[in-house]
């Protein structure tokens, strides 16, 4: 409605401007002009009323001093919170029970894989069923939800304490943890002096039959190759595969377990928390981070049509205060600015989530072809990325 009226006002005012004031029928035109201006004003008002009205109804955008008090009161009224997440159950469980204990608000958790979380939120919304309040998923999947216009910006004062890579320009999702892609090795199968210092060292024939990657790590691959310069990067990995072979394993957890079991002496890309957790349990595994080191964040967000908006925003604030403290206790790297120095040691290269989404299909194929040692040319050209 607002758009229509403003379009009308613009055309009317354009008409009134183009007409000379000395024209005989200028009274009429002036009258028309004033009507137009009124329309324009009304239209602008209507347009600005939309978000303004939303501002008042959505607690996500409220920034007054009584913000927290309002959120707690509102959340108490709402009574519960529906959370869809792909975070590991054992980590999520602690977060949720602490939130429940603190605020007395029941959290209904639905946990699934990242693709299913995305799929469920989108499918429910298309059928006009709005159940989810709060979503947690890796950042590329959160970016997809942003593109689907299913998230809303939260103006939380806590966002100011986070590293830059955790906060996208639209602020519709915010990163809570950093995943670092590292190289994990079995300490009984790989001697410390053997360890590669650069990705080029993987060309050494000593690595023959000892390397593996995860099957769906294209976002890591894309970023590494881009950092190396696309042609040089692709050539390096093709050469590594041609010289030493790389076995492709389906699933990060499997790859980590196979390194622990000694089946895979060196995994070329793995989330750092997996080998770190195993190492602390006493498993013969450790990790290094070759340059360029690729990192990315997960993302949390409040759903645009959240049925329990106060509780959702309250949980959002909880995530970036006590929640992140919990996550650090569980060996995760939070996006708090105090971790900047730690992260800087890795010279982290953040994944460009937008580009990853656009190039999923293309880079998925390039990655597969490279790791399986197939010439990319022999296959049908990848379809243009669907937006």
């Amino acid at each position: 409605m607002a758009t229509k009226s403003i379009l009308g006002a613009i055309t009317a005012s354009l008409m009134s401007c183009s007409v000379s004031p000395r024209h005989p029928g200028r009274r009429l035109l002036r009258a028309l002009g004033s009507v137009a201006w009124t329309c324009l004003a009304l239209g602008t008002l209507a347009l600005s009323m939309g978000p303004a009205a939303a501002q008042e109804t959505s607690p996500a955008l409220y920034e007054g001093p009584d913000r927290t008090a309002r959120l707690i009161a509102g959340a108490k009224r709402e009574g519960s919170l529906n959370l869809y997440a792909s975070m590991a159950e054992k980590d999520l469980r602690r977060l949720v029970s602490e939130f429940e204990r603190r605020h007395g608000i029941k959290v209904n958790v639905w946990r699934s894989g990242k693709n299913r979380v995305l799929q469920r939120v989108v499918t429910e919304a298309r059928a006009n069923r709005f159940e989810v309040d709060f979503i947690h998923n890796p950042s590329p999947e959160m970016e997809a939800l942003h593109r689907e216009k299913l998230l809303q910006e939260v103006r939380s004062p806590l966002i100011g304490d986070l590293i830059a890579g955790a906060v996208p320009a639209h602020r519709e999702w915010i990163g809570a943890r950093v995943y670092i892609f590292v190289q994990a090795y079995n300490t009984t199968k790989v001697k410390p002096e053997e360890l590669p210092r650069t990705f080029k060292d993987l060309l050494d024939p000593r690595w023959k039959g000892r390397l593996a990657v995860e099957a769906k790590a294209e976002e890591w691959f894309y970023t590494v190759v881009r950092e190396m310069g696309e042609d040089a990067g692709l050539k390096l990995f093709r050469d590594v595969v041609a010289t030493n072979g790389v076995s492709v394993r389906a699933g990060n957890a499997l790859l980590n377990n196979l390194v622990v079991a000694g089946e895979v002496p060196l995994a070329i890309a793995l989330y750092s928390y997996l080998p770190e957790q195993s190492r602390r349990a006493g498993a013969p595994i450790n990790w290094i981070a070759l340059q360029p080191t690729v990192v990315y964040t997960d993302g949390v967000a409040v759903a645009r049509r959240a049925p329990h908006p106060h509780a959702a925003v309250l949980f959002f604030d909880f995530m970036f205060s006590e929640g992140q403290v919990f996550l650090e206790e569980l060996d995760h790297v939070s996006t708090q600015r105090k971790n900047e120095a730690y992260l800087a040691k890795f010279k982290p290269k953040f994944i460009d989530v937008g580009a990853v989404l656009d190039g999923y299909e293309k880079w998925g194929k390039i990655y597969e072809d490279t790791m399986q040692g197939r010439a990319a040319d022999s296959r049908t050209p990848a379809a243009a990325p669907a937006r």
Binding site: V109, T123, E148, V260, G364
Partner: protein, 581 residues
Amino acid sequence: MSGTGGSSAALARAPALWQRIDLKWVAIGVSVAIVSYLGIIPLVFLLWQSFFTPQTATKAAEFTFGNYTQAYSSLETLRLFFNSLKYAAGSAVFAFLVGTLLAWMNERTNTPFKALFFALSIIPLIIPGILFVVAWILLGSPKIGIINLVLQNWFGTDTVFINVYSIWGMIWVDGLHYSPMAFLLMTATFRSMDPALEESAMMSGANIFQTAWRVTLKLSWPAIFATMLILFVRAIESFEVPALLGLPVGIEVFTSSIYRAIHQYPAQIGLASSYGVTLLLITTVGVYFQSRLSSQGSKYATMTGKGFRPRTIDLGAWRYLAAAVFCVYFLLIVILPFLVLVWSSFQKFYAVPSMAALQNLTLDAYRFIFSYPTLIRSVWNALLLSLGSATVIMLVTSVICWIVVKTKLPGRWILDNVASLPMVFPGLVLGLAIMIFYLNVDIGIYGTIWIMLIAYITRFLPYGLRYNTTSMLQIHKELEESAEMSGASWGTTFRRIILPLLKPGLLAGWIYIVIVSIRELSTSILLYSPGTEVISIVIWELWENGQYVELSALGVLFIIALFVLVLVAQFVGKKFGIREA
């Protein structure tokens, strides 16, 4: 008995005719309605989707043939499809041979200890797929495989004795995992077989193997066909073994294209569906040929008006060999993977068995499992769903396969086909179809356990149908006819004649569905809601988080529980058996 007879005689006077017709058509109508409803929703969804581009907030879905051209214009598809065919055919034949041999020894021979072997035979089925494959990696990998290490140690060589990372390794692991499916199907067939023909063959001088080959197997041809069909289609649709064993050495299969299409943004459901259409066609051809077999009348019906007791063949001294075969099988197939699981469940992380690793034994994994917050609820939900869906499926499909096998209704093979197609829907596509349907047709089941029950029934309907069909083919029409002649209504005939005679197939199918639906993951993971978690979600959860030892502990508990359950069921069954005699 006399009470029922008396009352039906009394009722037979006035409304008998319409009553008789009514019940028959009500039962048929309800069953056909359920099956068409369940089968057609995902089918329409799949076909419909295959003609559309993905929908996003900024771009509406558009009609296109692009999915088909993209899916079928590349050599890549052909290469993957050829791999799939090789793998599925190999795995189906292997599973069939193993399952049938065991079933034959168990049902038709006097092999010692066979009651125990029955329970052991279905254990591979209950082991979660991922665990089974990983156990075989730990046994048969060229680098760390225990079998290789032990043999290399014995013979003092570096030779790799077995390698699971190969097409043969894939066939071996998948075939073993699904051999219980063939075992159960063929057990049912052998159990309903009149031994008279076998006995005549023996009398005429045929030896045991000639009899088995030329009589027993010939008579079970429809069951063999059905078993091969279902094993083949399932293997071509399977994902775990190709992903864990094929991918590392570059053997990719057809399903990997489907998964790649689904797991991107925006999800290429249309492309995945157009790949799925090939699987639909293969199944349709298979079901059509099966229906040709069924229409050959009573050629394969061995259960006639003549009474018989399925007697076993005396193997003589051979029976010790049979027992030895069983023992080797269980050592290799059941005990070895089971021991790998037991070993890793007592560790903090997986380590190759050694004296050093013995120091690290711990019960932590079991403690973790027993303190898992949603464990009890998940087990309870999974039991409700598996028992519920197995019972509904076996009852509904018994009527469906009666229609398909025993009537001459035109188009009945299409009914068979509609009920068989859900087998080939990629799990996630099936879940999505059901989800979208019940979100838009809001009858209040979305987010409840009922939507999962519907998904389970849809997903396992084809298996129930195959189990029932193989047994139904063995029942001669004359039994029904004599019941009718004696004045029984259709309902009475069905309840008192058909269902009891169908019991071996009903029971085998029921056991199979109960077990595999406890493992069902790909549709549950999209459709479950807070409160309706199932045990397979817990398994997936542990796996995703790399908690392999905890998962092993859960697997061990699973196997023990199942083993006890089957033994109890057998004990109860035996008691009933005695009463029958």
